[in-house]
């Protein structure tokens, strides 16, 4: 992969911007040109958050065009459906199986859709479910959900694993470095396992 379009999506407060930041730094170290676009402001208040990331030899537009996403990294299950028009049949979708209820659902006005993973599979997408919350919890810090997911994403990027570890060391205070690195490694190994299973079947 010499160039790519990645979408990071989820809910405000999940550490999406930091995750996209760590990924950008690793891609930068690997020598790519990068453009990353995020929207701040209202989204901080528990709203839906999305970051577009593009890398390659030379990147012009910071926005990804519909139908051209290579990898979608969804931090929340429902959010994996929101950006479907950006995907195509070859897109890989990494989905954190965590559910965070939108206010319309928690107040009983709307219902949370069921069978989201099947829905994605039915469309022919390659889906990688990851219980990032469980990984983060077992690593000792529930806020490390984002690094578990970056670990999962890293498997598909043309970046050596070591560069990610370097970036985490450089950008995280010592206190939380180990749990985040652990979460990253676990997230990465889960995708590797899923790939093996996929290859065998």
């Amino acid at each position: 992969m010499e160039k790519g379009n990645i979408i990071f999506c989820g809910v405000g407060g999940q550490g999406i911007l930091l995750a996209s930041e760590i990924t950008s730094f690793a891609l930068m170290k690997a020598g790519f040109d990068i453009k990353k676009s995020e929207v701040h402001g209202m989204a901080q208040r528990g709203g839906s958050v999305v970051a577009h990331m593009r890398f390659g030899d030379k990147v012009y537009s910071p926005l990804i065009e519909p139908g051209t996403v290579d990898i979608a990294l969804a931090f929340e299950m429902l959010e994996s459906l929101r950006y479907l028009p950006y995907l195509n049949k070859n897109s890989r979708v990494i989905v954190n199986t965590q559910k965070i209820l939108p206010s319309s659902v928690s107040t009983g006005i709307e219902t949370y859709p069921e069978n989201i993973l099947e829905e994605l599979n039915k469309k022919g997408l390659t889906v990688f479910p990851v219980d990032a919350f469980e990984i983060a919890e077992s690593a000792g810090e529930i806020r490390a959900v984002n690094m578990a997911l970056v670990g999962a994403l890293s498997v598909f990027l043309p970046v050596e694993e070591k560069l990610f570890h370097d970036v985490i060391s450089e950008h995280m205070p010592e206190k939380i470095r180990k749990v985040n690195t652990d979460a990253f490694i676990k997230g990465r190994s889960i995708i590797k396992k899923l790939q093996e299973v996929n290859n065998k079947s």
Partner: protein
């Protein structure tokens, strides 16, 4: 060797200003501009301040420039409306130290109440404007803007858009190039005192400067032509340039790095060399109108949308008529709108106001979210500080009939920004408007910037804390109250009492934003739970719209099994991970089903 780093447009602007030897920076926070000053404040040797509003910020920067220091003032697009007064006159006075004004526009209104195109300010104020298209250019252009400002004795506008401010890209660190001007007091009244007699002479200077600026525009290296296939030529600027390059990599392009004044010769030359011209720009036909005025045939807004952000797909589809390449249709899923945080002290107030059935003249801040369901407790919202004047105007239109029916609501930072003058008007013109100042000790919506009521500066230094209560009394309001908004009963009592008073009153609802670091770290936080056997499924607690309170639907069978009433359709639970312990929900439950965690008696 130059070092490459990954920066947002706003971070790059801060770096560019630092590399230009910036001495003084001022701003009022506003998305998407906020991070410019936040980043500048981290550099040593630069004075940085959050000003009460954009006009003051502009005046501070202009003063610094008059003292021979390089100065920068940044704001969001609507902020320039507030600062427009000093902007227009500073075009007459000119500068001493370079003065750069950043306007961060917000096409698509990601977090704004309108999407005005501030390139029109450059035209109206007769001030040059640069428009970078990515972080790398943002840094370069800010540096060049300081040089241009001193060379031409003019403030220089730099326009970004959300998609430049908040995009991250690779930027080269560069050399520090400082001003040759020596800071110090210089009395030059004919330049700085804009009495009509002086201003008339300065107007002539302005016109002369403008002729020179036009010539400069034609020689400016960032007004650049890229010739490829000459059948199609695009004229564009800013982020639109990147969309054109993405959508039409083989076309010829004239990219304007300086969008005002226009480089007439370059545009004419380009028009001669390409067969068909398209002008691609976001929002207004700013460049297009000028190109047409030169007598050049071009296509623009008849093809390209005038509202909202562009992207490569829109640009391509507008020109070629090709449909989007999207393969999957969007699916219908619940929306996830932003919401007041769990524990937000504003939530209770809007619940109180919605029960009072009053017209709520609102304002700009987190609390504007109270306009959304389920609170639906805001009836107008125009611009910073407008709530008080709006309420007074309604009151004056309706006379006595308005008593008890209208309130004005605004935050602490907004009150200081431009609410104070409105309150003075209420007192002076004998209104009876009740004003609620929602004082959460910070400018929360833009990311918790301190303000004069927070008692600290942008660098975190302790400063004098503005006493809002004393200020309101000094303005002449006799009825001033401070209440704890988490105490819903008390807040209701005071608001009800004051809206019926035929005199002005101010109710300050004082409780810190729950996202302030000291609030997040507090140890004495007690959480609430819902006692299932007491919950009747009446849904009263859901009306307050707290994200921590969740509705669990149940079937009739479940209801029987779980010991609920036969027809109960569900029950509420409190999500312990989200509850912040404000206790606002307790008074909503008639059945005393909400209690402190660990206290199942329902007693508080």
């Amino acid at each position: 060797m130059s070092q490459k780093i990954l920066l947002s447009g706003n971070e790059a602007i801060a770096l560019g200003a630092f590399e230009a030897g910036l001495r003084v920076a001022s701003a009022y926070p506003g998305t998407p501009s906020t991070e410019i000053l936040e980043n500048i404040s981290t550099y040593e040797g630069i004075y940085a301040e959050w000003s009460p509003n954009e006009k003051v910020a502009y005046e501070v920067a202009l003063g610094a420039s008059f003292a021979g220091a390089r100065a920068l003032v940044s704001m969001k697009h609507v902020g320039l409306n507030i600062a427009a007064d000093p902007l227009f006159t500073s075009a007459y006075t000119g500068v001493r130290g370079g003065l750069v004004v950043i306007t961060a526009d917000d096409p698509e209104m990601h977090s704004s109440q309108n999407e005005q195109d501030n390139r029109n300010y450059a035209f109206a104020a007769k001030v040059p404007m640069f428009e970078p298209s990515d972080p790398s250019e943002a840094k370069e252009f800010v540096k060049l803007a300081f040089q241009l400002s001193e060379e031409f004795d003019t403030p220089v506008l730099v326009r970004t858009t959300t998609r430049v401010s908040h995009v991250k890209g690779l930027v080269n660190k560069g050399e520090i190039v400082t001003s040759k001007i020596k800071p110090g007091i210089e009395k030059i009244p004919e330049k700085f005192v804009m009495l009509p007699a002086n201003a008339r002479l300065r107007r002539k200077e302005l016109d002369k400067r403008f002729v020179r600026l036009r010539e400069f525009a034609d020689s400016f290296e960032h007004n650049k032509t890229e010739y490829n296939d000459k059948k199609i030529g695009f004229i564009t600027s800013g982020i639109s340039y990147l969309y054109v390059k993405e959508a039409f990599p083989d076309a010829s392009v004239l990219k304007l790095g300086m969008v005002y004044p226009f480089p007439e010769k370059i545009i004419k030359e380009f028009a001669k060399n390409v067969e068909e011209i398209f002008v691609v720009e976001e929002l207004d036909p700013f460049i297009e109108n000028y190109v047409k005025a030169l007598g050049i045939r071009c296509k623009g807004k008849e093809l390209i949308p005038a509202a909202g952000e562009l992207n490569p797909s829109i640009v391509r589809a507008s020109i070629t008529g090709e449909k989007s390449t999207a393969l999957f249709e969007p699916v219908k899923i619940p929306n996830r709108p932003p919401n007041l945080c769990p524990g937000c002290p504003h939530r209770g107030i809007f619940h109180v106001l919605s029960k009072l059935n009053v017209f709520i003249a609102g304002d700009i801040g987190c609390y504007t979210l109270a306009a959304l369901k389920p609170l639906s407790a805001m009836d107008s919202c125009i611009c910073m500080g407008a709530s008080i004047g709006n309420a007074l105007g309604m009151e004056k239109a309706l006379g006595k009939d308005a008593l008890g029916k209208i309130v004005a609501v605004l935050g602490d930072s907004t009150f200081i920004h431009s609410g104070i003058t409105g309150l003075i008007d209420v007192v002076y013109n004998k209104g009876f408007t009740t004003v609620l100042i929602l004082d959460n000790r910070t400018t929360a919506m833009t990311g918790h910037q301190p303000n004069p009521a927070s008692g600290q500066t942008v660098k975190g230094d302790i400063s004098t804390m503005l006493d809002i209560e004393a200020l309101c009394r000094a303005i002449g309001v006799k009825n001033v109250y401070t209440v704890n908004p988490n105490d819903i009963e008390e807040t209701y009592k005071i608001v009800k009492q004051e809206i019926e008073r035929p005199e002005p009153s101010v109710i300050i609802t004082k409780a810190p934003c729950v996202l302030l670091p000291e609030m997040k770290k507090r140890k004495d936080k007690s959480l609430y739970i819902i006692i299932p056997e007491k919950c009747t499924g009446c849904r009263s607690c859901l009306k307050i719209g707290c994200p921590a309170i969740e509705w669990v639907p149940i079937t009739e069978e479940d209801a029987k099994k779980l010991g609920f009433k036969e027809k109960q359709k569900g029950y509420s639970i409190i999500n312990a991970a989200l509850c912040d312990g404000c206790g606002q929900c307790v008074t909503l439950c008639k059945f005393k089903a909400i209690a402190l965690s660990g206290d199942k008696s329902g007693k508080r």
